[in-house]
């Protein structure tokens, strides 16, 4: 069996940065990535960048307080009070 080398670890780590910052890796996988990132500038920077990205996206809340338009149920309400709409199968 071939022992994974630096290149394998690097490729694998780059593919799992997102899972790592979400805490989705199993302990063994997490240790593998952390061990590799200690010696790999690219992956260490990748972890920091991915964390910063998630943090910033989570802060995108510029729509807080936006209200749905009053017209949102217009297509559900029967026109002119007629009972023209009903759920299918009701």
């Amino acid at each position: 069996m071939r022992i994974p080398g630096h290149a394998d670890d690097h490729r694998w780590s780059q593919q799992h940065l997102s899972h790592y910052v979400d805490g989705d890796l199993r302990p063994r996988a997490r240790r593998r990535l952390e061990r590799h990132a200690r010696d790999c500038v690219d992956c260490a920077r990748g972890i920091r960048a991915m964390r910063a990205l998630v943090y910033t996206v989570q802060g995108l809340d510029g729509l807080a307080g936006v209200r749905a338009p009053a017209s949102i149920f217009d297509r559900v309400r029967p026109a002119g009070g007629a009972d023209s709409l009903s759920p299918r199968g009701a």
Binding site: V57, G59, L60, P87, A90
Partner: protein, 211 residues
């Protein structure tokens, strides 16, 4: 920068109506009444989630007029399909899933048009925190602009993944359910989405302004 809120989960179920006996109707009761053809019960049930659903559509579509149109279509489809709702997921999850499907349908239609409507990235922005100094504010504001543009450029499935998980704050399980894919597929989409956004913005800008 203000720490992100991670409390943006599914809202509390609707329970604001009163039955004939005067006690508030539960969500299950409203579902049952809606399934029997009571449009008022359907509106009450769904209006509890209308604001959040509309915000999701704005984030996915980036265009207010289109979001309004799609929101109406979502409600129509939910009403027409309410008898098929079996309560295996929460009503909120079921409604959100319809919204994601309708938004993706609208984005597909838009992509087929010769001149697509560009997503207005400012729809996704948050004003800088007043506690930050001006140069820091400018840095963060620039980062958010770039982020808005990068999100707007993502294919719909990837944008949906990052909006549901990172902006809306759903767990992977909830977000996968809403997107209608397995958790493994969802994680893969989320990874691809983050990778593309990271590449578009650049590590240095992310770490300097966002870290």
């Amino acid at each position: 920068m203000t720490p992100p809120s991670r409390g943006k989960r599914a809202p509390e179920p609707a329970a604001t109506d009163s039955t004939a006996a005067g006690s508030p109707a539960t969500e299950a009761e409203l579902v049952a009444r809606a399934q029997a053809g009571d449009v008022g019960a359907f509106e009450q049930l769904s209006s509890a989630y209308a604001d959040r659903l509309f915000m999701l559509l704005l984030r996915l579509l980036g265009d207010r007029a289109e979001a309004e149109d799609v929101a109406q279509e979502v409600m129509l489809r939910a009403w027409q399909g309410i008898t098929r709702f079996q309560g295996r997921s929460s009503y909120f999850t079921w409604l959100y899933r319809i919204a994601v499907n309708e938004a993706n349908r609208a984005l597909d239609k838009r992509a087929r048009r010769p001149a697509g409507v560009a997503i207005r990235e400012q729809e996704l922005l948050l004003p800088g925190s007043p506690a930050d100094d001006p140069s820091r504010q400018a840095e963060v504001s620039e980062l958010r602009l770039a982020l808005g543009r990068a999100l707007a450029d993502l294919p719909p499935a990837l944008r949906t993944a990052i909006v549901l998980r990172d902006v809306e704050g759903f767990s992977t399980q909830e977000a996968a359910e809403i997107a209608g894919v397995s958790q493994a597929a969802f994680k893969s989409r989320l990874h691809q989405a983050r990778l593309r956004v990271r590449t578009a913005i650049g590590d240095e800008a992310l770490v300097t302004a966002g870290g």
